[in-house]
């Protein structure tokens, strides 16, 4: 199958200017002077690499041979039948290490080698970016240290073990709320002291310039492939594309290819936790306010004094009180719509996809499935069954089985999510109708 180049740096109206601002407002670089030289060096190396055909070819070869891209664009027929529209799943869950994140770390690790640095550091929440970073470090023979909130190291012991087996050092972070945002703080503290020989493999399309644009470039193969695959397999562009948004790397990776396709609706689904009205959520764009976090101006969950508020989501990978600044710009510009999906809606969608398609999605991705079904139903009613929605299935759900066991009460004989599939489907359909439309 032929797909268009997965690596192109953008210069369109939705891209950042040379100082890293999207729409003159979002993003930028609110960082200590001590790191500015390193960020400048990284910006130059990234732009230089993206303009170098040899680097691009090398990145595409590594993705293809090692990570297994392009990932399939799969027609989920039973799900399509359920909602009355064509639902296509971009199978990033089938990549090596089981998520889209391998694209980003391979890109950044390749760049690290090119810059002649010997050590990488990374932050991780659930451990997926940490595992991907440890994997890339092993493959490229780089020293690797991963910072992880102490709360998360306890919740995700299996991923800690995976990282250690891959040769990475995992440092539990006890400061602050001992979760993802504090792991980022600690990684930045390491970087200030080690910047001459260390690269920071940032895990999402957030942070100071150039990370939001650079991570986007390394992930945009998702959308470039999906767009080409949709045209090749169905002869049309999709009517809508959908992805979950925590920091937003998988979402921006999907969205980028479609930004200039004005007929394509773009939907991001944010973690609504227990429900936005409860205050226990991580729906940053929907419920946050503009501020500066981790070096970028973006929507932030914060109190009246600008102190960061702890976020909540059943999905550790979406549990972040900020969001990538390009998403803030796409929301402000009206090009993309961001809607919260609750823990309960996401878990229902996890069960639904498992039972209709035999695919156990990551809980992160299940947020996208839950929200996108509502979009697909509406489009099906408006345009008929050929209406097409692409959902980014950003990761697989193996890592989430502990949560699923607890949520559904699995493990004992005769247990399981509501054994009556029709009931599960009806639950999902009604929740999508009533709640995801906020």
């Amino acid at each position: 199958m032929s797909v268009q180049s997965s690596v192109t740096s953008g210069t369109g109206r939705y891209d950042a200017d040379e100082r890293g601002y999207f729409g003159d407002t979002w993003g930028g670089r609110f960082m200590p002077e001590a790191l500015v030289a390193a960020l400048d060096e990284l910006t130059e190396a990234w732009q230089d690499a993206m303009a170098d055909a040899a680097f691009v070819a090398d990145f595409e070869r590594v993705l293809r041979e090692y990570a297994g891209t392009p990932s399939r664009l799969y027609h989920a027929e039973r799900l399509s039948e359920l909602v009355g529209a064509r639902v296509l799943l971009k199978r990033e869950d089938l990549n090596h290490t089981g998520a889209h994140k391998i694209r980003n770390v391979l890109g950044q690790a390749l760049l690290t080698k090119r810059m002649g640095k010997s050590r990488v550091i990374a932050e991780t929440g659930a451990g997926q970016h940490g595992v991907a970073s440890a994997t890339a470090a092993a493959w490229f023979d780089l020293d690797c240290t991963v910072y992880m909130g102490a709360v998360d190291t306890r919740r995700q012991a299996l991923n800690v073990a995976r990282m250690q087996l891959l040769g990475a050092k995992v440092v539990p972070v006890e400061s602050g709320s001992a979760t993802l945002k504090d792991a980022i703080n600690e990684a930045l503290r390491d970087w200030v002291a080690s910047v001459d020989h260390t690269a920071y493999l940032f895990g999402t399309a957030a942070g100071p310039h150039p990370f939001p644009s650079m991570v986007r470039d390394f992930c945009r193969g998702i959308g470039d492939e999906a767009r080409a695959q949709c045209l090749e397999q169905y002869g049309v562009l999709p009517d809508a594309v959908a992805a979950c948004v925590g920091g937003g790397s998988n979402a921006i990776g999907l969205f980028t290819a479609f930004l200039e396709d004005e007929g394509v609706e773009i939907h991001g689904f944010e973690p609504g936790g227990d429900g936005v009205e409860t205050g226990r959520h991580a729906a940053t764009i929907h419920a946050g306010e503009a501020g500066v976090l981790h070096g970028a101006r973006t929507y932030v969950l914060q109190d009246e004094d600008g102190q960061t508020i702890e976020s909540h989501s059943i999905s550790a990978g979406l549990d972040y009180p900020g969001v990538g600044p390009q998403h803030s710009w796409l929301a402000a510009a009206g090009r993309a719509t961001y809607t919260p999906v609750t823990d309960a809606q996401a878990m229902d969608a996890m069960a639904l996809l498992s039972r209709t398609e035999g695919i156990i999605p990551a809980i992160e991705s299940a947020h996208a499935v839950a929200g996108a079904l509502d979009v697909a139903k509406r489009l099906g009613e408006e345009k008929g069954p050929d209406a097409t929605v692409i959902i980014n299935l950003s990761g697989r759900g193996d890592k989430d089985m502990g949560t699923a066991i607890e949520w559904f009460g699995l493990g004992d004989a005769d247990s399981g999510p509501d054994a009556d599939l029709e009931q599960v489907e009806a639950d999902v359909a009604s929740e999508v109708d009533t709640e995801a439309q906020q």
Binding site: R19, G28, R29, F30, M31, P32, E33, A34, L35, V36, A37, A38, S175, G176, K181, D182, N185, L188, R189, V192, A193, V195, D196, G291, V292, L293, H294, G295, V300, Q302, E304, D305, G306, Q307, T308
Partner: protein, 267 residues
């Protein structure tokens, strides 16, 4: 309001470096932090930096993080920080606020500058704002005649040092170790050359933050810098005597005296 430059001018006229002490507002309490900082002034600090506690302090080491987090847990608000500024500025020494950017943006940049000036504050030190991304603050500070203290680091290029020296008012803060705040055993050999590079770029005073914790280290730094900044060592005095205010203040007094003697030794 007293610009920090007056403290440097006085120190220079006495043939010595200025001693600048840092503590976060609100630790162990709002009133307690005012008493602590006034003690440092009485014992010989030439200027005071008041930390505005923030939830995500990426440039701070464990000591300052611990006190700032305790202050936040105790409920300190931005308005309380202004109260601390007022309580310290009354002593007549230049009193600056040191803060990460988001609380200022959230408070309102113009409102922050107005209230800071109204409380008698001399200006603001901004560890995560560089002049090239700080136009909003620069405009507000200029309007209210507040000091704009930006940082330089050993990794700064000469061009960036020149820009920073040009845009700073009061002094330039030379963060002379590549790393977070915290007391260190030895002073860094990166500090002298960094101060020299800032001096070559303009005539604004240069104060060095480098993990100084005693008079001997202060004397070493005072030999080449206009000011010696001490933070974590002061915070440590309070953390080590948690629950015993008299002992904490006594420790602050004795450390300040040692440091004040140190900055006078070099001359």
């Amino acid at each position: 309001m007293t610009s920090t430059s007056t403290a440097f001018a006085r120190a220079r006229s006495e043939g010595r470096a200025a001693l600048i002490g840092y503590l976060p507002a609100g630790y162990p309490s709002v009133e307690g932090s005012i008493r602590a900082m006034r003690t440092m002034v009485e014992a010989g600090c030439d200027a005071i930096e008041i930390g505005l506690p923030y939830s995500d302090p990426v440039m701070d080491g464990p000591t300052i993080q611990a006190a700032a987090q305790a202050a936040l847990d105790g409920g300190v608000r931005t308005a309380d920080v202004m109260r601390v500024v007022e309580g310290v500025a009354e002593t007549g020494v230049p009193t600056l606020v040191m803060t990460y950017w988001n609380p200022v943006e959230r408070y309102g940049v113009e409102r922050f500058a107005t209230d800071l000036a109204g409380a008698g504050g001399a200006g603001l030190i901004t560890p995560d704002i560089t002049p090239d991304h700080g136009s909003a603050w620069i405009a507000a500070a200029d309007e209210h005649d507040l000091d704009k203290v930006f940082l330089v680091a050993p990794s700064s290029t000469d061009a960036r040092i020149a820009m920073t020296a040009r845009e700073s008012r009061g002094f330039v803060y030379a963060a002379a170790v590549m790393g977070v705040t915290g007391a260190r055993e030895a002073t860094s050999d990166l500090a002298g050359p960094l101060v020299g590079r800032v001096r070559a770029a303009g005539d604004v005073p240069v104060a060095v933050g480098i993990g100084v914790s005693n008079g001997d280290q202060a004397a070493e730094v005072a030999a080449f810098a206009d000011g010696v900044i001490v933070g974590s060592a002061f915070v440590r005095c309070l953390l080590d005597h948690e629950g015993d205010e008299a002992a904490g203040l006594e420790a602050l007094r004795s450390l300040t005296a040692d440091l004040a003697e140190g900055v006078r030794r070099a001359g």
